[in-house]
Amino acid sequence: MNGIAWNGVSAGYGATTIIEEIDLTVAPGERIGVLGRNGAGKTTMLSAMTGGAQILKGTVRAGDRDLSNLPPWARSRAGIGVVPQTRDIFRSLTVRENLMAGGGTAADMADAFALFPRLKERLGNLGADLSGGEQQMLSIARALMNRPTFLLLDEPLEGLSPLVSQDVMAAIRKLVSDRNLGCVLVEQHVGTVLDFCDRVLVLQRGRVVFSGTSDALRTRPDVLESAIGLSGVSG
């Protein structure tokens, strides 16, 4: 597979258009960050790829394959893994059941435990009994069960303490690097995005207002201030 792409995508829910004319291509191993204020359309952009939002114009593709009209499960099996906002684990299922829910195998589960050994210790615990960090690990591990080529992460650090956030980001780095995953990271913490990603997309009211390297964005205080509300960037 060459990569995944949003080609001139406008998308939304019902009659409401949230994002307009988004163009982005992500190659295997490439790390893309998406920044923007609340409501800018970051999550909708990911949902357009996974099937959660309705595509009104344009196409989403994985390699040569047009995914736009495929159901969510087919997109997942085309190699797209997603870690949703607020984690969205199945709280009434155990860790094992959460991991098997999408049709993963025992071998996939072993791989997930290699990345997050703590999950193995909590195998029989309900999702609701896990800490926030463990829930996030479970959410990431669950996204890996279909052996994706691309990983879409929607605010994976939301609600986590700084120390736990460091652990989760370290795991994501290792994962992306070891498996050469293409990765799209939506995150509120600008420093984390600039530090982790090769390229960054900044959205404002559903449109791309900046697309370039992380270093280039660091030199654009106007974009940082108008689109994200920052006067500077701290690591």
């Binding site: 996974t50 099937g51 959660g52 159901p71 969510p72 499960w73 997109r75 997942s76 099996r77 997603v82 949703p84 969205d88 199945f90 709280r91 009434s92 299922l93 155990t94 094992r96 059941e97 959460n98 098997m100 829910a101 999408g102 049709g103 993963g104 195998l123 029989g124 309900l126 009994d129 669950r142 996204a143 069960m145 279909n146």
Partner: protein, 319 residues
């Protein structure tokens, strides 16, 4: 995951409960057989309501289809009981599978109303096909051969009890195994968040169709058992009222646990048995009051109450 001894103990609970009930009601084996058959039907309903999260008021359609299929099979083809069970199960599965293809595209209230409509359509078809089904008079006139060529059905329901208990045991053990397979886990995850399962690669529609068809097959099996043990099939076996009744049993016992289906059926049937003997007209009042108390104070049903007590005694969190 439960340990091996716990799992075996759980499996043995059904025959043990059967033996205890037999000791309590030694002269009412036909009544106990009826409890076992209803428990199979409520177990099948739990697959749809408790595990897949689909509220239905049309489940008796599959039970009735199985009952009529087994009755007609015995009357016109062969009165051997085990193949009759297969015929009943197939009839239930066919009705469920065919309707599931349409039903599983609907959600919420639309789904609920469609299950009622399908049940009513089937009821009317069976009612009008008097030459085949006996219409309002019901289907009768068939007698069953001995089970496995050895054990004969008797007037007191002795064989009916052991036969129904054996089938209930097999169904219960198989469902317990099924619900911990990846298929069962995916079905439960769909109940919690169907959209999320889809984005993880799970085929929501296909899983729902399969679980509904399987549930219909088990309901048909229960219907066939009922036809064979009572040797009469009535129109009420297809009614929406009966669907509502078994839903009440499931809610009483607790959804999504399998045990809830067994406990709910037992409690409902025993209360019905005694309350109806006190007041044959207003016995439903007792059930209604108990249901109100359960829904208000123990929304997870009686088995949830048992789980909470167990958790309190062991210091663990109730599942």
């Amino acid at each position: 995951m439960t340990s091996f001894p716990t799992r075996i103990l759980g499996d043995l609970a059904v025959p043990l409960a059967g033996l205890i009930l037999l000791a309590l009601y030694p002269s009412q084996q036909a009544f106990l057989a009826q409890i076992a058959i209803t428990a199979i039907l409520v177990l099948s309903l739990d697959l749809v309501v408790g595990f897949a999260g689909l509220a239905t008021l049309g489940h008796a359609a599959m039970f009735g289809a199985g009952a009529y299929a087994a009755g007609l099979y015995a009357l016109h083809v062969w009165s051997e009981p085990l193949t009759g069970l297969i015929a009943g199960a197939l009839a239930g599965a066919v009705v469920a599978g065919a309707t599931a293809l349409m039903l599983m595209r609907a959600h919420g209230l639309t789904f609920l109303m469609m299950t009622v409509a399908i049940s009513q359509v089937l009821y009317e078809i069976v009612s009008k096909a008097r030459d085949v089904t006996g219409g309002d008079d019901g289907l009768f006139g068939f007698t069953m051969q001995p089970v496995l060529g050895v054990w004969e059905f008797d007037f007191f329901g002795k064989l009916a009890f052991w036969y129904s208990l054996a089938v209930l045991w097999i169904v219960f053990v198989l469902l317990r195994r099924l619900m911990v397979t990846p298929f069962g886990q995916t079905v439960r995850a769909i109940r919690d968040d169907a959209g999320r399962v889809g984005s993880l690669g799970g085929r929501v529609y296909r899983h729902r169709v399969v679980v509904y068809t399987l549930s219909g097959g088990i309901a048909g099996l229960a219907g066939a058992l009922s036809a064979q043990t009572v040797q009469v099939v009535g129109l009420s076996s297809l009614s929406v009222t009966y669907s509502a009744e078994i839903l009440v049993m499931l809610v009483l016992g607790g959804t999504g646990r399998l045990w809830g289906a067994l406990v709910g059926t037992l409690v409902f049937t025993v209360i019905h048995h005694y309350a109806a003997s006190i007041d044959p007209v207003r016995w439903m009042l007792f059930i209604g009051l108990i249901l109100v108390v359960i829904v208000l104070f123990l929304p997870g049903g009686l088995t949830r109450g048992i789980a909470l007590i167990h958790a309190w005694l062991t210091g663990r969190r109730a599942p």
